[in-house]
């Protein structure tokens, strides 16, 4: 089966769900090598002079999936393109529709939860705050026996 694949250049981090794709191109007449998985297909296309090195990403409409181009090789007038599915980009909409318990987040966070990533210097910052200085008036206190000092013999 011959099909057309869209080629892109991807600069986004692998962990980015929605990649920013540039330098869009198209490659017609691509066929899938038999016995390859839909998750990591190997494509074969006649070498018609297309500069494949400018692409590292593609979309195969027949599979409704985005792929990383993991390797490109040339042999006997054919270009062989090894791909690996990008599940984040391929299912970006469905992933965004997921409801989940978020472990860490950039903005939806609670700073009062203990963070194992906290790091601090070995020394600390000391702050001193004083109460009112109330014990500064010295007085003698003389205690004697008996009312008026009276004692009975």
């Amino acid at each position: 089966m011959s099909m057309t694949i869209k080629l892109y250049h991807n600069d986004s981090d692998k962990r980015t769900v929605s990649k920013t794709l540039t330098n869009e191109g198209s490659l017609a007449g691509a066929t899938i090598i038999d016995d390859t998985s839909i998750l990591s297909p190997r494509l074969k296309v006649r070498d018609n002079g297309i500069i494949m090195v400018q692409y590292n990403y593609c979309y195969i409409a027949d599979f409704k999936r985005y792929y990383y181009i993991t390797d490109i090789s040339v042999s006997n007038g054919y270009i062989y393109i090894d791909c690996k599915v990008d599940v984040l980009m391929s299912y970006a909409a469905e992933i965004r529709a997921c409801t989940a318990v978020i472990k860490r987040q950039q903005s939806l966070c609670n700073y009062y939860l203990d963070d194992p990533l906290y790091q601090s210097y070995e020394y600390s910052r000391i702050q001193v705050k004083t109460f009112n200085n109330v014990f500064n008036n010295y007085n003698f206190i003389l205690t004697v026996s008996g009312k008026g000092g009276e004692v009975s013999a």
Binding site: V17, V101, K103, Q106, N110, R125
Partner: protein, 537 residues
């Protein structure tokens, strides 16, 4: 609640609902079309699987135990694709470490082995399913693949319709792309989890149920009863006639001294019971405060009027308010609390005491001394006030003594010396406790493991009189080492349930609660792994 049922013994697949079988002609790739329903042959003796035990799964090689890969499928039915190839639909399951089937996978394979799988979809089995006999729906459709080959595609539904749906609904619900759909074929309902009738059918070792329900019945009552500073005692020795307390000046003391030793007549009344006029004096102390006194009057001793004017002390107990200190959060995070920030308070005549940041952070602490003027005994009361938490309570109370005892006789002096030595030893041991060796040996430890240092010894009485007499607090905060923009790369702790589409930036998922991703099992596992490791939304 069927707590005694062991779900691992039974899986019932009671029904297959077929979707509409109206003649459908959908243009597919390369004009390959299907217009009729493929032939279906039920396996297992011509009837649909009604019950499957663990033993049956195991016998079919369709059981994943100890992370093993199943080698077979428990067959349900077989059908032909549009090229005459068989598609075997079957189940395989996995056992968890407790021996329970915790995952069930519907699989489409080219044969009855696991090695030629078209597609599969799994359902993790959760407690409500186990207890409630809840249904799982596997929806299967057929769609064109490359070359016009008809392939099965599974979708998993648990909360969607449990009755057959029309083809149109299928298209809109599951695919959103009709050109990829060849036929909606069937829905498989799996039900009757943990049927009591099936318990014991299998020879698989039962796991004894030892857990019982419990907990969760707290009243969540957070109402707080305020505790104020303790009131002063109302019963006093002053005024009883047993003792008389004066507030002389230094000059008065000098006059008194002259009078005591020069006018021997004052002993005439007591010469049979005392050896020295000083024995009539119970104590002479210096206190760092102003007592409550009455109008001046002549000091009398042993019935003799000294003609020395002194103020009599009229109140044995007094309270001295030291004010309050606001303790604000510095970081606005966990760093202000717990193991990170330490707060100590210096209490004159008592010493250093540690306060919990949880008690006062974001609020204030107020300090008051209740003092017995006669003995010099004092109690420092610390009230913690946190508006946000509704806290306004005296949570700390420490005792001490703030009197400097003036030795009036050799006996007094000897006793005072012993007390001074004892306090000095305490002071030295307090300093020694700041052992530099221990600090060095702990240098590799994190801050929370730092040794707790004593900053002062027992400061009671005469020792405290020589020390600092202004109370203060020492807040020891960590100095955070925070790389620039770390939140963008690592995020911060969240533990909040949210729809991922409502978030932006770095996100780590603890676990997914609700999802509707139609993908292969391997893709799902990769998505799950990536979300747990952190992605950028």
């Amino acid at each position: 609640m069927s707590a005694n049922y062991d779900v691992s013994y039974f899986i019932g697949c009671t029904n297959v609902y077929h979707g509409t079988t109206d003649s459908i002609l959908i243009p597919g790739a390369n004009n390959n079309e299907i217009s009729s329903m493929p032939t279906v042959t039920y396996l297992n003796g011509g009837t649909f699987l009604s019950a499957a035990t663990v033993a049956e799964f195991r016998a079919a090689g369709a059981l994943s135990e100890n992370d093993s890969t199943p080698t077979g499928i428990l067959p349900l039915y077989v059908m032909e694709d549009n090229r005459g190839n068989d598609i075997y639909i079957g189940l395989y399951a996995s056992l968890n470490s407790s021996g329970y089937i915790n995952n069930l996978t519907l699989c489409a394979s080219k044969d009855t082995t696991y090695s030629n799988v078209y597609t599969r979809t799994s359902s993790g089995l959760s407690t409500p399913m186990i207890e409630g006999g809840e249904n799982i729906y596997f929806y299967m459709s057929l769609q064109y693949a490359s070359g016009g080959v008809l392939l099965p595609n599974f979708c998993l539904g648990r909360t969607y319709s449990r009755t057959p749906v029309s083809y149109g609904e299928w298209v809109s619900r599951w695919t959103g792309n009709p050109t990829q759909v060849g036929y909606v074929y069937s829905q498989l309902k799996i039900t009757a989890w943990a049927s009591g009738a099936s318990v014991g059918e299998d020879s698989f070792e039962k796991i004894a149920q030892t857990s019982e329900e419990g907990g969760g019945d707290g009243d969540y009552d957070t109402t707080n009863t305020t505790t104020e500073f303790p009131t002063l005692p109302t019963l006093s020795v002053i005024g009883t006639g047993l003792v008389n307390v004066w507030n002389p000046s230094a000059y008065d003391i000098s006059l008194l001294n002259n009078w005591l030793w020069r006018d021997t007549s004052i002993f005439e009344n007591a010469k049979n019971i005392i050896d020295s006029p000083l024995q009539l004096i119970t104590s002479l102390r210096i206190l760092p405060l102003s007592p409550v006194v009455g109008e001046e009057e002549h000091f009398c001793l042993a019935g003799q009027d000294s003609a020395i004017n002194m103020h009599p002390v009229t109140q044995q107990y007094i309270a001295i308010d030291c004010g309050s200190i606001a303790i604000n959060e510095y970081f606005g995070s966990a760093l202000d609390y717990g193991a990170y920030t330490k707060i100590k308070i210096f209490l004159p005549f008592i010493g250093f005491k540690e306060l919990s940041p949880d008690d006062c952070m974001g609020g204030s602490i107020a300090l008051r001394y209740n003092i017995d003027v006669v003995t010099g005994d004092c109690v420092a009361c610390i009230k913690c006030i946190r508006t946000g938490g509704g806290l306004s309570n005296v949570l700390y109370t420490y005792g001490g003594n703030m009197a400097y005892d003036v030795p009036l006789s050799s006996l007094n002096f000897s006793a005072k010396n012993k007390a001074d030595v004892a306090n000095t030893v305490g002071l030295v041991s307090g300093i020694m406790s700041q052992n530099p060796t221990s600090v060095i040996s702990s240098a590799m430890g994190i801050m929370t493991n730092k040794p707790t240092l004593e900053r002062a010894s027992d400061m009671k009485g005469n020792t405290g009189f020589l020390g600092n007499k202004q109370p203060f607090i020492v807040i020891e905060r960590p100095i955070q080492s925070l790389p620039a923009n770390s939140g963008q790369f690592f995020g911060y702790p969240s533990n909040i349930t949210s729809r991922l589409g409502d978030l932006n930036g770095y996100t780590e998922v603890d676990h997914i609660i609700e999802t509707n991703i139609h993908c292969t099992l391997d893709e799902w596992e990769e998505i799950n792994e990536l979300l747990k490791e952190g992605v950028y939304l």
